[in-house]
Amino acid sequence: MNGSEIFNAQLWMTALSSATPLALAALGGTFSERTGVVNIAMEGMMLTGAFVAVLASATLHSAFLGLAAAILSGMLMAVLFAWGTIRYKADQVVVGMAINVLAAGLTGYLLNAIYGFTGTPPDTPRLPDVTIPGLAQMPGIGAVLGRADLLVYVMLLLVPLSHYFLFRTPLGLRMRAVGEHPQAADTAGIDVNRLRFLGVLISGALSGMAGAYISIGVLNAFNVNMTNGRGYIALAAMIFGNWKPVGAFLAAALFGLANALAINLQGLEGWHVSKDFVLMIPYALTILALAGIVRRTTPPAADGIPYEPGH
C-alpha cells in the first residue's frame, strides 16, 4: 500500500464504524450537558450497555432484545448517576468516576462469574446489517454508506433529530434554559431537576446503545473493559463539537477517521509516522479547542453546577 491508496473504501468504512459509538454517546452527552450535568459517566454507561447487550442477546437469542436491554441498562446507570448528582447534588465528575469504576468492576465480575474463562458464547446473535436499496449500488459512496450495521443508520438519523429536538422544540428550549440559567428557568415555572434528569437519562440510553454497537454490532462478544476509553473520546467529541449535536457528530467522524488512519498507516510502506501519534490527534485537538486555539467553544453557562433554589 502506498500514500495514495490509503484513502480507500476500507478506510472510510472503518472510520464510519469507529465514529458510530463515539457519535451516539456524544449526542447523548449533549443532552446531559445542555441541561447542566457534566457527564463523564458515559464510559461506564457504555461499558454496561456492551456487556448487557451480549448477556441478553445470548440468553434470549435475539440481538434486538440485546439492544433493548443495553439501552435500559445504560438508563439504569444514568438513574444511579442522576440520583447522586441531581438528588444529592454531589460532585458530577466524582460521581461519574464512581459509575465508571463500578461499571468496570460489575461487568468484569459478571463476565467471570457467568461465563468463566471461556468468554461469552460464540453463537451470540449479532445486530443485522442493513442494505439501502439504490445507494448500495452507487459507485464509491455505495461501498461505504450502502450497507452497514443497523445502528450506523440509527446514529445518522439521530443527528438531525437531536438538533431539531434541542433547538426547535419547546422541550428542547426548556432543557437548554435549564443548563444556561437554571434560576431564570425555575422562575418561569420549569422543573429544573426533572429536565436535568431527562437529559441524563437520554445520555444513558444513547451510551447504552453505543455499547451495544461495540459488542453486538461490530462483533458478537464482550471482553473486559471493552469500551477502552471510548466514552472519554465521546466526551471529547461533544466538547470539540461545541455542545451541539451536529458538531458532536462531525467531531466524532473526525476522531473516527483518525482511528481508521492509525489502523491503515500500519500497512503503509516507507512512511514512518507511528500509529500512536495519529491516535493522539483527538485528544490534542480537544485541548486546543478548549483553549480557544483551534475554534471557540462555549459550554452551557451552568454546566457542572448543581441547582440550589434560591441562590
Binding site: V38, A90, G108, T286, I287
Partner: protein
Amino acid sequence: MTSTRATAVLVPVLSVLLSFLVGGVIVVISGHDPLAAYVALLQGAFGSVFNLANTLTVAVPLMLAGLGVAFTFRAGLFNIGAEGQYWLGSIAAAWVGYAVHGLPVWVHLPLALLAGTLAGALWAALIPGVLKAWTGAHEVITTMMMSYIAINLARYLIEGGPMMAPGYTPQSPAVLPTATLPALVPGTQLSWGLVLAVLAAVAVWFVLYRTTFGFEVRAAGLNGRAARYAGMNVARIIVLAMFVSGALAGLAGAVQTLGVNHRLFDAFNAGYGYTAIVVALLGKNNPWGVLAAAVLFGALNAGASAMQMQAGVPAHLVDVVQGMIIFFIAVDGIIRSVLRRTRKEAAQA
C-alpha cells in the same frame, strides 16, 4: 463541635464498610461465600510479611500520586490526569536510569528520581496549568486528554520508538543498578519508595499548613474570587499547584519504575493514577488520610488475586467495592442523613 469532627472521620469509614456490604451482597447473589472471600482477601493482603510487603508495594505509587491529586483538590482544582503525569515520570526516570552511564549511585538515583518528578510536574503545569490560568480551559478535560496523549507517547517510545530495547518485546532497556531503588524488605518488591512516600506526606502537610504558599493554595481552593480580591495571584497559584501535583504523580511513576518495574513496559492497565483520585477523595485530601487510604487500596489490589484463587470469587469484586466507595464518598449526603437520623433516635431514646 465534636460531632462535625466525628462525622469527618465517620463518613469515609462508613462508606468503606457500606461498600464491602454491597460487595458481599453481590458475592452472595453469584453463589459464593462472602465471609470466605473477605477472609481470603485479608489474608492475601496482610497474612504474612510477604503479603504485607505486596500491599505496601501497591500502596506506594498510590500514596505519592494520591498526595498530588489531594494537593490540587486543596487548591480547588481537579487533576484527573495523574495517570499521564505518572507515565511521564516513568518515561523520564527509565531513560535517565538506563541511558546515563558512569555515575555513582548517590548521583544517578537522585537524578533519575528528579527527572521523573520534573517530567510529571511539567506535564501538569505547562499545558493544563497554564491553560487553566490564562484561558480558563477546564483542567478536568485537559488533564484527562493529556493522560491519553502520555500513554500513547509511552507506547510509541517502547513499540519501535527510540526507547525500545533490542529485540521484539515492547519494553525499554533495564535501568542500571546505580539507578535502582533498593529493596526495603529483602526478597520482596517493597522498595525505599515507601520512605519517600511518607516523607512526601510530611512535606505536603508542611507546605499546606505551615507556609504562605500553602495558605494561598487553601484560600484559592475555598474561594478563588476572595483570594483574588485579597491580592493573591490566583493564576500563579493554579500553575504552581498543578506543578506540585504533577511532580508527586511523576515521582510515583519514577519510584515504580526504579523500584519495582526496573524498566518501561506496557503496564498501562495498572491505572495507579486513576486509583490515586479515589485515594485522595477517601483520604479527604488530608496527607495522613491519603496514606491510610492508599494502604486500603493497596490491600484491596494485593488481596484480590488471593481471593480469586482461594474463594473462587472474581478479583473484579475489588473494583466494584472501589466504585461503591467513590460513590458513597461523593454522595455523602446519603450517609450524613442516615447518621443524622440515628443520632436523633439515640437522643430520643
